[in-house]
């Protein structure tokens, strides 16, 4: 590299700070609740090749380090000083957006007439039109329902706002003032970044900035590769599941083959289920995408805190995504709730990494984020207003050397919760219980982090609860290395009364005054043999109400005295008696075992291959019809597979001919 290493380090600090200043500028003046409360925004400085070289270290979303402006820049052609590009359509900006409310702005940075970099800013705005307020519903089947589609267009031309374009945009938003505020905040952020980088170029020279972009990426690449070399050479398969696609009751499978070779990693998602007719698709444009590589980025950032967070960190990673699948859907598949897929992708990559290298990452986390929205009709205006009253997260997965985090999970947006008092002040509910959910962590030598339990009582009539992206009701967060899976998610209406009812999916749930609704998020999976857990740790868990005495005995083989102390002798005996726990691998929980007794890897892969001959948009319906024909219970809404899959052999004898028929259709067609 032409820069000396001191200047590299100095420029690193300065450019990362410039990217952070952009974020601070955005944060200071943005108006949407998503930016202010959930930190759903991001900024970066991007090199001439469209890949970021400076990304904030702890501000806004950490998820987009691996973004690529290539598609955006190709679409717009050469930019002039003062141009600002706006887009939100994943299918037109190369997956830069992942759903329509995320606005993407790009502005070239010129110094002395020479293009030296791009500023990039993104924010989740309040609304972009479409079928529901805030523009996201799991029910939507295509992006036309999700709001205004914006391919990369010039919002500003040489410093002048295109007022016509702006008024079309604002006319399509339910909250034009808020959105305009956000757009202005983003433009302000881009200008701040441009100003700061110009200043830096003034003291270090434009040539230094240009060679720095490459040098810093190479530096990051070298460090990251040293981390990824920990993964032994070889190919490692893993599968994980989403409960269903919301509009049917058929499980969805994500599949990965991770191939590692001397610090390079290939992620091949072949065998992943076809795109769905609901909002669970993740448009990646078939390119390496931040959501596909996020878990690897976290691995790198955890193992070496000095790795500069830029595109170079992932330069030895490649990805393959089957066209027409959930992870690379065809236009115009809906994508509003792609977040649920992203969370499961994290588990998927974790599982493959653990298969390759025990201990390298934690077991599965609770893997769900549960934003509880309360809708109420204003008595005077008749208008319905809704507000997020709590974002309930799950517990973290346990890892070699440490318990999972209780009631918090890394890799999520990592924003603060809503205090009970704030919620009760803003909404007609009483929060009767907000605690860690006992016995919800997967047992293990290192216990999975506990999920949360949250119970609200409705204090007014005519309320409705909205919750989207609910997951892990059916398939449990898995344990690793002998650690056990965690109990799945539950939502219960009027728990403990004769009107008690399990709610397994929510779009809009009407509730009456006096009703209670109890949300229980999953804990994380356990790690290592629970009978090897330090009895003192089990005792402390029981004392704090994290683990019941019954679970201590059954799951951990730890017997406590009436006073709550460890009964050393009884514990020793109990642990010696446990001869049937010769379990050292993953524990996926009962439902997955049942499902795979019918849909084993070979069958599922075969079905997907046969479906691959159909047009992408037709696959999900056909898949559903085949599975519902073989397993009639899937046409209902019961989540449990226990009754319908009691005789796997019988189900398979129905299923396989259906798959053969499908294969024959194409044979005939060919």
């Amino acid at each position: 590299m032409t820069l000396n290493s001191f200047d590299l380090e100095i420029l690193r600090h300065k450019t990362v700070a410039a990217a952070e200043e952009m974020g601070l500028t955005l944060l200071r003046s943005a108006r949407t609740i998503y930016v202010r409360e959930v930190a759903d925004f991001a900024t970066a400085l991007v090199g001439l090749d469209g890949k970021p070289f400076a990304y904030p270290s702890d501000l806004g979303l950490s998820a987009f380090v691996d973004l690529d402006l290539k598609a955006t820049l190709e679409r717009t052609g050469p930019l002039r000083e003062g141009d600002v590009i706006l887009s939100n359509l994943p299918y037109a900006n190369g997956g830069l957006s992942t759903h329509l409310p995320d606005l993407q702005l790009v502005r070239p940075i010129f110094v002395g007439g020479e293009l030296i970099a791009y500023g990039w800013a993104m924010a989740h705005t309040s609304d972009i039109g479409g079928g529901v307020p805030s523009s996201i519903s799991p029910r939507f089947s295509d992006v036309y329902q999700e709001g205004l589609q914006l391919p990369p267009v010039r919002l500003m031309k040489e410093g002048r706002m295109d007022e016509d374009l702006l008024s079309i945009y604002l006319a399509n938003c339910r909250s034009p003032e808020t959105n305009l505020g956000d757009v202005r905040a983003m433009i302000g952020a881009l200008e701040a970044g441009g100003r700061r980088l110009t200043e830096i170029a003034g003291s270090h020279g434009t040539e230094a900035i240009l060679s720095f972009q490459t040098a810093l990426r190479e530096y990051a690449a070298e460090k990251a590769k040293a981390v990824l070399r920990q993964i032994p050479n070889g190919s490692y398969d893993f599968r994980d599941y989403l409960d269903h696609d919301f509009v049917s009751n058929v499980p969805l499978r994500l599949k990965l083959r991770l191939t590692a070779k001397d610090g390079t990693v290939d992620l091949d998602f072949a065998g992943t289920d076809p795109q769905v007719a609901s909002a669970f698709n993740l448009p990646t444009a078939g390119e390496r995408h931040p959501y596909l590589t996020l878990r690897l980025l976290q691995l790198i950032g955890t193992a070496d805190k000095t790795v500069p967070m830029n595109h170079g960190a992932l330069s030895s990673v490649t990805t393959q995504t089957p066209p027409g699948s959930i992870v690379n859907p065809d236009y115009p598949a809906a994508c509003g709730v792609r977040h649920a897929v992203m969370l499961r992708l994290m588990d998927l990559v974790s599982g493959a990494l653990l298969t390759a290298c025990p201990g390298i990452v934690p077991a599965a986390g609770g893997g769900t984020v549960l934003p509880v929205v309360l809708a109420e009709t204003d008595a005077t205006t008749g208008r319905r207003k809704s507000a997020v009253i709590q974002s309930i997260i799950a517990g973290g997965g346990a890892r070699e050397g440490g318990d999972g985090v209780d009631g918090r999970e890394s890799g999520m947006s990592n924003t603060r919760n809503s205090p009970i008092e704030t919620t009760e002040d803003a909404a007609p509910v009483r929060v009767e219980l907000y605690g860690l959910r006992p016995d919800s962590g997967g047992p293990g030598r290192f216990r999975g982090g506990l999920g949360l339990v949250y119970r609200i009582r409705m204090l007014k009539p005519d309320l409705a609860i909205l919750a989207r992206g609910l997951e892990r009701f059916r398939f449990a967060p898995w344990g690793a290395a002998g650690g056990r899976s965690a109990p799945p998610c539950r939502v219960i209406l009027n728990e403990g009364t004769d009107r008690e009812r399990d709610i397994t999916r929510i779009d809009i749930l009407p509730v009456a005054e006096g009703d209670t609704l109890t949300f229980m998020t999953p804990g994380g999976g356990g790690y290592g043999d629970p009978f090897a857990r330090d009895p003192e740790a089990v005792r402390r868990d029981v004392a704090r109400g994290f683990v019941s005495a019954a679970s201590a005995e059954q799951d951990y083989g730890v017997i406590l005295t009436a006073a709550g102390d460890v009964d050393v002798d009884a514990t020793e005996t109990a642990r010696a008696d446990a001869f049937d726990r010769a379990h050292t691998g993953f524990d996926f929980g009962p439902e997955r075992k049942l499902w795979e007794s019918v849909m084993d890897d070979a069958t599922a892969t075969r079905l997907n291959a046969a479906l691959g001959h159909l047009p992408a948009s037709a696959r999900t319906t056909r898949r559903r019809l085949i599975l519902e024909a073989a397993i009639p219970a899937l046409a209902g809404d019961t989540l449990s597979l226990a009754d319908s899959l009691r005789d796997p052999g019988a189900v398979r004898s129905l299923l396989l001919p259906l798959i053969e028929n499908l294969e024959a259709e194409h044979g005939a067609a060919a």
């Binding site: 500028t25 209780d406 990592n414």
Partner: protein, 709 residues
Amino acid sequence: MTGTGQWRIGIDVGGTFNDLVAENLATGRRVFHKEPSVPSDPSLAVQRGMTGLLDVAGLAPGDIGAVMHGTTLALNTILQRQGARVAAVVSRGNRHVFEIARAQLPAAIDFTHGREEPLVPADRVFETEARIGADGTIVAAVDDAEMDRLADDLRRAGAEAVAVMLVNSYRHPALEAEIAEALTRRLPDLPFVASAAIWPEAREYERGLLAALNASIRPLMGAYFERLTSRLGELGIDAPLFITTNNGGTVSLQTALDRPIDTVLSGPAAGVTAAIDTAPSEAGDNLVTFDMGGTSADMSIIAGRAPELTSAARVGDFPIMLPVVSVTAIGAGGGSILWRDAQGVLKIGPESAGSDPGPIAYGRGGTRPTITDCYLATGIVDPARFLGGRMALDGAAAAAGLAALGRDLGLEGDEDVAARAAHAGLRVATAMMGVDLSKLLARRGLDLRDFTMVAYGGAGATHAMMLAREAGLSRVLIPGAPGTFCALGASIARIQRDFVASLGHLLGTGKANAGLPVKAALDRLSQEAATWARGETAGDAGAPRISAMVRARFPDQAYDLELEFGADALTRRDAAGLERLILDAFHDRHRTLYGFEDRATPVLAGLLRVTVTIPAERPASPRPEPAKTVPTEHRRVWDGAWLDAHVLDRASLPPGARITGPALLEQPDTTIWIVPGWTGEVLPDGNLMVTQDAGDAAPGLRRPAEHAS
């Protein structure tokens, strides 16, 4: 607030030294003294320091009118988790409130991060059925049988102190007080702290935590204050004792005993107070403080000569929602360690050598070079004169450590490797500090060019001009005694305390009496505040001044604007006038921030904070001590090349003297490094103003006479 004596004493307790200052209220004369800390018995160090100070200043105990004490005892007790074993009583359903906290991890990307160990683990948290609704009505009252059971639970849990926190108590503090009383009757030896009595603001975790922290540190603080009072008594000092607080003010010993949590972040706040009060008009109204010591560095933004208060401060793992002077630790301090990574790049920190073992030059076993070692190896600091020669440093060892690192980094040659490595370290560290400063200002939308840096702490004046040069600031103010500036701040601090009330009222609805509840709350808090203030001084001080802050927002928005109102704005306003005042301020601010205003929509006033201050008499500006004539020396300093720097004793410079860099000014508590292209001028009050030269100024010293000619 003073006794009969003319002298006021300020004391600042640090990790390595206790700093003391005596200030004569009549003449403005100041005397400074440093005394090594005694971590095992902080009161002993104060006693020794006081003896030393009286000796240096030639004072008798009776000359002392007041002792203003800043202590880090509360801070250290919390950081080291050495407080009393605290238990808590909370509303049903809330047992895990201290475990859940705000459900946030310290870093998003690092999956090895755990959550913090809670201050009150769930096995010491007990639930009561007593519950308050969001509107302040009682949903479930206190039950006697339940109190018996809770008393048993608390006894069994081995509680040494108890916090009581009911959901929504900020709207109805009496219910918590009732529980605290009921339990005190059953457990008379246990201290109970009710959360709303400490700070009645919404957010149950933060409020409960304040109560628990206060309960946990009170016993230790009480014991310390008792020892301190008796030790000062042994010296014959019976002047009243005041303790500095988080908001930059000070309170009586009795208030500090009740509310030790108010003192936890007082140390850095005192420096900010000193900067505001002692910076001369030449410095302007916008200041940024740069407090750099042997181990860490802090900055604070002062816009318009008012300290910035934050309600988002943290102590270790814990959020402090009380108003605290906003001070931010920055990326690199004197103890930050220099190292080389696997790719051969020089890195600084985040690891710090602290004060033990400290830098290599301290000779206490430190083997890895730090920023402080870099000052020695570049020639900026003279190892023989550190702290006026009271602490000998090993400059050769520092240079050897840096030379080894330099060679490891690929620097070639022999002679200058240590200096070049040290210079590279200072460049990287300065860049890190510079970007932190930029971000502090960016966060607030402020322009750096409007600010003067006030540099203090043992190394503040050493590094300030390097930082200013890097960050683009053109003015740096160096106080007369930067090494003991926080002690001066303690002695200057005014009696001050904050009071809060949660509102939740709509303004601008067009209804006639919309402003009444806010007016009622303002009157109630003002009265409470004034009563408290008069009690602090036994009535012999000036009239209390009341200022206020209202937090307001549009009802459908999630973010608040903080609106400040001075005493002048508040006096003699009726409810309608107050409503207008708040609405105007809100809409003005909204326009500034968001570019438009919406006067048709009502505004929700969420919180009222009232601050009471007792104006203190300020002495005349100190007259600098007569200048001694000391010959100018020279020392070489590496700043990219060897430079020949003038070395002067700061005490030899009379007001009006100008010194153009490269130059070093030595004084007992610090070394001032004036970089090339910058010039220092001694102001009439003894402060040194260092500014970037407009043109080419010849290096060296110009005395006032020469300057005039």
